[in-house]
Amino acid sequence: MRRFRRWGPALLLVSPSLLLIGLFVYGFAGWNAKVSTSTSRGYQISDDYIGTDNYEKLFADERFGLDVRNVLIFTLVFVLGAMATGLVLALLLERGIRFESFFRSSFIFPMALSLIAVGIVWRWLLKGGEPVGGLNKVFDSLGLDFLVGDWYQSGSSWAIASIALPAGWALSGYIMALFLAGIRGVPDELREAARVDGANEPRVFWHIVRPMLWPVVMSALVILAHISLKTFDLLLAIVPKGNLGLDTPAMYMWYTSFDGGFYGRGATIATLLLAGIALVIVPYIWYSVRSERKK
């Protein structure tokens, strides 16, 4: 009874939230997994059980194979591009830059925008063909003709990589902020000590700051990788419907479930997507919570 008086009110206060999260996150994800083992179609969930049939069909599905390949190419280009850009921006801004906060805000503001809007703008900027416009026009007038291309419309099997440009535009500033916080979190005394020992600035960075940035690199990688797997709004706004060359699992899930009503197949793709993301995120949460407890 005394235990209840101590914890009761606290539990009562959080229980609505816990119940709702339990139901909407875990309950729904579990239910979704169950739908993936049924024949559900026609916008109906059916209660039958067909085991791993949907999974086997999906793995044999040419479109899904292409989607996985696409999302891997996209992830590779986007994650590496955004990491590199974010790091370079952070190093440029790290110290003694006038108007630093103006630059910083200008690099981060895309995070505040709807990705549908971002997609719409970039769809026009990345337009290929005639008349030469958008980004191609910029390259053209700078004499950088070799950069003029058809981007997402190119029909090449690497066309999906061009979506990394708008995605990187939207997220590099975030990565910059993470790196900047990491670099500035390095105690001044450590840098000062290295300087006293005669190290110049590049060496101070390499020997003192860089080794302390690994946690930031890890979180930036995890965040980008999981965003990359989920990318949907941006693709929906850029890619013309029915262009399977730029399809990804997230897009396939959407079209098959809500355009075609094939809930069984949609739930199967969604379950695999969740598994892929959990693979990256669960160790990350575990690591973050554990390192917090150690403090």
């Binding site: 206060l13 505040a112 030469v132 300087r195």
Partner: protein
């Protein structure tokens, strides 16, 4: 200041070295500085380029608009493009406001309660529950959409804004809980203990001790939740069936998403749909940034 701090080639005779900077200044330092600013300007142009295209194209006379002339300044200012798309977006803007405001307020309030309990009134098992809550922040929405449509239509909450608000509140909880938990963790335990000694229970401590010091955390949570609810597409697309209830992102995608839409109308609609969150960012960017950093689990 140690003897090794300054390279005498960079300091002209008779000039005293600046104090407090223990750096070795290389003779290349001025060139490095110029290069840094040049690169920063290059990136600035890259990041602002789409904004320039948006603004310039929306303000051009529709007859003057073309993909090939996207970088040209308008010869005359015209608001025709805005006038064309405004009636199509108006309802969407109102709907997004009607859903983002209550969703962000309620989600923040519940998050404050959770954050307080999870940092200052840890019940047995709290350390087990917290990571489970956090995972909700990263879950791909695709993996809950099908059961969600089913449940919401069963509850009669599909189609209108109520269901959408509910969903945004729930999926906002992990981040708001995290924000408040980190914030309250920074408050000394003694204040809470003092309230307890005075005989205040958990609820009184929460309302009279924790909430009054929490406005900064509320600013972060509300602003971040408002932005995410405003920018959401998936939930809105699944849960609103009638165009009268479309949030602005759905309206935007349906108006400007097709390939047949004139360039200027697409740009004007995108600009209108972005303006509210952009204004929030410009005016309250500091709080927005803290929400962003919290989302990386970095506190």
């Amino acid at each position: 200041m140690s003897a090794a701090t300054l390279d005498d080639t960079t300091v002209p005779k008779g000039q005293t070295p600046r104090k407090g900077h223990g750096r070795i200044r290389s003779r290349w330092a001025p060139y490095v500085t110029v290069l840094k600013y040049a690169l920063l300007l290059f990136f600035l142009v890259f990041f602002l380029m789409p904004v320039y295209a948006l603004v310039v194209t929306s303000l051009k006379d529709p007859a003057e608009v073309g993909v090939d002339t996207v970088w040209n300044l308008p010869s005359t200012l015209s608001f025709d493009s805005f006038a064309t798309v405004w009636p199509k977006l108006q309802d969407g803007l109102v709907n997004s406001l009607m859903l983002a405001i209550p969703a962000s307020l309620i989600s923040s309030l519940l998050g404050a309660a959770n954050g307080f309990v999870l940092s200052k009134w840890r019940f047995p098992g709290a350390d087990f529950v917290f990571p489970l809550i956090l995972f909700g922040m990263f879950i791909p929405y695709q993996s809950v959409l099908i059961p969600m449509t089913e449940t919401m239509s069963f509850l009669g909450l599909k189609g209108g804004l109520d269901g959408l608000i509910l969903v945004h509140i729930i999926y906002g909880l992990p981040l708001t809980t995290l924000i408040f938990r980190s914030y309250f963790a920074g408050i000394s335990d003694e204040i809470v203990e003092a309230a307890e000694v005075d005989g205040a229970g958990m609820l009184r401590t929460f309302f009279h001790v924790a909430l009054p010091v929490a406005p900064p955390a509320f600013a972060v949570a509300i602003i971040w939740q408002f932005t995410s609810a405003w920018n959401d597409f998936l939930f809105g697309a699944v849960l609103t069936t009638n165009r009268a209830y479309w949030p602005v992102t759905i309206a935007l995608n349906n108006i400007a998403g097709g390939q047949a839409v004139p360039f200027n109308e697409a740009m004007a609609s995108a600009l209108i749909a972005c303006l509210p969150t952009l204004l929030v960012y410009i005016l309250l960017g500091r709080f927005f940034m803290r929400g962003l950093m919290a989302g990386a689990l970095k506190g």
